[in-house]
């Protein structure tokens, strides 16, 4: 015992070595750069090359973009300003005057300027209507009633006209529900749903026209009507995008259920529709809207070009949405369906309470990327002659004042689209994180 300890004493350090700083190359900015940028000689070369590329691009864009031409009112004036700034020689820079002069047009198209408050109000209210859906944990749930009413307010604000038209469309739903309740007291589920649908259709197609005319004659409340051909700019893009997106979600759910249904005929009809729409480019559907849809309707019908485009874009979005939701349904474990069955829920109860909440949650990334795709695809309407931002650029560039303007317009439009689409994709990531309740 005594001997083992004694001869080790001399080799024992009795004070701690003071803690040394980590080497310079592994902490702080230098350490970070060493680890992430210059870890090997190859990485170092790549980093330097990337820096050179970034510098080259910025050196091209930044001096061009910082240009004192905001107040100019024509391209030649821009050139004069740039030449003056450059000491007499012809300068190189952006001509931002075109954005200042035309940004109202790029936003609203030819919408009458004293009525611009209406689209603005419609889009602000859109935010209010979407809030309880998008941020359900921060907004009172009562707002959902407003969300339900919003689809009738939105077209009324944009197109104007008598207030009784949207009210009568809304009343159709009430009539249908009433018929459903009355029939369900005496007959079964299927029959009462059928009765509700028929009653609503009868109201919309036959009765509502007379009712609206009568009421509009008695109590003329309404907004100044605006023609569809005056719609344009980002207002048009957002209108088409929002309507197509909002309508395609419920229709897409139905179509996805149809495609997964056991009913053979329903399934084949759904598959046929989805594959047909997904197999053709959107531009051919827009050709249908611009040239054929009036031929398909009863003789003498001539309905609005924007309405026709809305119908075709909605059909297009619906097919894609249906496939996304079908993916979500397929990803759900079979036990969920069987569990719902064993609880004695019927088909619609099971869908509403068990299947859809989970399936929609799984499909959120796909749904949002469909939304983004549809919103981007609204630019295609410029090909059939609607005045979306891209369609407006042709008119602006044909103006003698701005003949020769290219980058400023395209850059501005691209930037606006980028802001919209990028924020949508970030929102989907936020939603994914928030809804990730951990099923794994």
């Amino acid at each position: 015992m005594s001997g083992t300890h004694a001869h080790t004493v001399g080799f024992t350090r009795d004070t701690m070595i003071p803690q040394a700083d980590p080497p310079m190359t592994s902490v702080g900015a230098i350490g970070w750069a060493h680890k992430n940028l210059f870890s090997t000689w190859f990485n170092a070369i790549v980093t330097v090359a990337s820096l050179a590329l970034i510098f080259y691009v910025l050196a091209m864009i930044v001096p061009w973009a910082i240009s004192p031409t905001w107040e100019s009112s024509s391209l030649s004036e821009c050139r004069d300003i740039l030449a003056a700034a450059n000491g007499g020689e012809s300068g190189h820079g952006a001509c931002w005057g075109v954005i200042r002069e035309r940004w109202v047009q790029l936003m609203f198209g030819f919408y009458p300027s004293h009525l611009h408050w209406r689209p603005v109000a419609a889009f602000i209210l859109l935010g209010v209507a979407l809030a309880p859906v998008l941020f359900s944990d921060k907004v009172p749930a009562k707002l959902l009633y407003f969300t339900l009413a919003y689809p009738f307010i939105f077209p009324w604000l944009l197109w104007g006209g008598t207030i009784w038209a949207p009210l009568s469309v809304a009343a159709g739903f009430g009539v249908g529900y009433l018929a459903y309740r009355i029939v369900s007291a005496v007959a079964g589920d299927l029959l009462s749903v059928l009765a509700g649908v028929v009653a609503a259709l009868v109201w919309w197609l036959v009765l509502s026209g007379y009712v609206v005319d009568a009421l509009a004659g008695l109590i003329p409340i309404g907004l100044e009507p605006v023609q569809s051909r005056d719609f344009g700019g980002f207002m048009l893009s957002i209108t088409i995008g929002v309507v197509a997106i909002a309508a395609s979600l419920p229709l897409g759910v139905l179509l996805a259920l149809g495609r997964r249904s056991d009913l053979l005929i329903v399934r084949y009809l759904s598959v046929g529709f989805i594959e047909f729409i997904r197999g053709v480019p959107l531009i051919t559907l827009l050709f249908v809207a611009s040239t054929l849809l009036n031929i398909f309707m009863p003789p003498g019908t001539d309905f609005d070009i924007i309405l026709r485009v809305l119908i075709m874009v909605t059909l297009f979005a619906t097919a894609y949405m249906a496939e996304v939701i079908r993916g979500g349904l397929a990803a759900l474990p079979k036990g969920q369906y069987e569990g719902a069955d064993s609880l004695g829920l019927n088909y619609w109860q099971a869908q509403r309470l068990i299947i859809m909440p989970q399936a929609l949650k799984i499909s959120i990334p796909g749904i949002v990327s469909t939304f983004i795709g549809v919103f981007k695809d609204t630019t295609l309407v410029s090909i059939i002659g609607l005045m979306d931002p891209l369609g407006l650029t042709n008119g602006i560039r044909a103006d003698t004042n701005w003949n020769g303007i290219v980058w400023e317009l395209y850059g501005f439009i691209a930037l606006v689209f980028f802001v919209f689409c990028f924020s949508m994709s970030r929102y989907s990531m936020y939603l994914e994180r928030r809804l990730h309740t951990g099923r794994k």
Binding site: V46, T47, L190, L191, G279, L292
Partner: protein, 422 residues
């Protein structure tokens, strides 16, 4: 004899069509079918009435009338006296050209960007993210017109190549000229050409196939087959004896020597573009519209492909790599035997649907005046003849056939790589 406890005979009542689950689904389906047929009949009768009122019954006769418009970018012979059908056929080939070019370029760029996004180099990863996000979040139509504007506005005019001290120079030893009227590249020519086969005679679908090209492809294919045979033989020898014979010069030889001999016999040379007068002559002229469409579609689709590739690589857990390494596989074999087969199963289906998207997006060619099937059949032909119904329906059918063939290939592939679960 019957007793009171016998169940009542189930007799069919009309209400069972609704309440008995055995009949209910049939009822719903028949209602759906009747509804669908009613809607279809309504649409068709409307169409028939409207067409009768307009005085243009459905008739495909317009397809044989002379098109009387020019198509400047084309693979086959065509002039404005040819029929509308011929014009549409040229347009269809143009669609396929830009789709194939675009898919190939997009795949290459997409794979590189997707891998680089996972790079340990922070700066490179960020740069690639910027690329992907900026292309994904801006409409493809905007990119197409934007690239068209870049080509027209920033490239030198052909006149800039003239003079003793020209402002612009041709690239690659005076063989490629990049101008604001398009790109001129050398074209392969054969002085002892074998000629062409004329398929389909003088019909609108006539199709000239160069025999030179067929001969070159045949020789190349034979060479590759011989090379693969030599490799298999070397594999056999290695398995039997343990020593692998050196074969690379043989394999190189069987591919390149016959090809070189054939090219020499055919008198292969390149026809260089030359500046004559106001423009370049000779060589192959790729117009701005083709280049802009090709670049925009491939860069746009590449951003999506990059995300697919990245997701595919991330989907393979690192345990797979480690387990393969623990088995003693070398890095290259880990990649080819373990990672790639699994990653491809994740990557290929969405990749093919991106090819499908690119093909469909090529219809936006009409915005820059590239004469694809939409520009010919759905554009000028439709406007000249006023046959909207026939043109649009044919256009949809053609795209549908292209899409369905691509998705048939996808389904076949999916089936062949599906995990066989037991």
């Amino acid at each position: 004899m019957t007793s009171l406890t016998d169940p009542q005979k189930d007799r069919f009542r009309l209400s069972m069509l609704l309440y008995d689950t055995r009949y209910r689904s049939a009822t719903i389906q028949i209602i759906a079918l009747i509804f669908f047929m009613l809607v279809a009949a309504w649409l068709i009768s409307n169409t028939a009435q409207n067409l009768a009122a307009l005085g243009k019954p459905i008739d495909l006769g317009f397809l044989t009338e002379p098109a009387s418009y020019d198509i400047n970018q084309r693979l086959l012979d065509y002039d404005s006296r040819d029929s509308h059908l011929r014009a549409s056929f040229i347009g269809l080939l143009n669609t396929l050209v830009v789709a194939v070019l675009g898919c190939a370029t997009a795949t290459v760029i997409g794979v590189i960007v997707g891998v680089l996004r996972l790079s340990p180099n922070w700066l490179v990863g960020r740069l690639m993210t910027v690329y992907v996000e900026s292309f994904r979040n801006v409409p493809v139509l905007l990119w197409i017109v934007f690239f068209m504007a870049i080509l027209i506005e920033t490239l030198p005019a052909p006149s800039a190549f003239r003079g003793d001290d020209p402002a612009a120079h041709m690239l690659l030893g005076d063989s490629v000229a990049i101008t604001n009227r398009g790109v001129y590249i050398p074209e392969p020519l054969f002085s002892n050409s074998l000629g062409d086969i004329h398929l389909f005679g003088a019909s609108p679908l006539r199709f000239d196939v160069s025999l030179d090209l067929i001969a070159i492809l045949a020789v190349l294919g034979l060479g590759l087959w011989a090379s693969a045979w030599i490799r298999r033989r070397a594999d056999g020898i290695q398995e039997a004896t343990g020593a692998r014979p050196t074969t690379w010069y043989l394999r190189l030889g069987v591919v390149s020597v016959p090809l070189a001999v054939l090219l020499l016999m055919l008198g292969f040379h390149l026809g260089m573009p030359e500046l004559k007068g106001f423009n370049f002559r000779g060589g192959t002229h790729m117009r701005n519209s083709l280049i802009a469409l090709w670049l925009a579609l491939s860069l746009y689709t590449a951003a999506f492909i990059a995300e697919i590739v990245r997701a595919g690589i991330l989907a393979i857990s690192s345990g797979q790599t480690e387990a393969a390494a623990a088995l003693g596989l070398r890095p290259r074999r880990i990649m080819s035997l373990v990672i790639l087969p699994q990653a491809l199963r994740v990557i290929v289906p969405p990749l093919i649907s991106q090819y499908l998207n690119l093909t469909k997006n090529s219809s936006l060619a009409i915005a820059v005046g590239y004469m694809d099937i939409t520009g010919t059949l759905g554009g000028i032909t439709m406007n000249q003849t006023g046959r909207e119904l026939e043109c649009v329906l044919m256009l949809m059918m053609i795209y549908l056939i292209i899409s369905l063939s691509i998705s048939a290939v996808m389904n076949w592939y999916n089936e062949s790589v599906k995990l066989r679960e037991r």
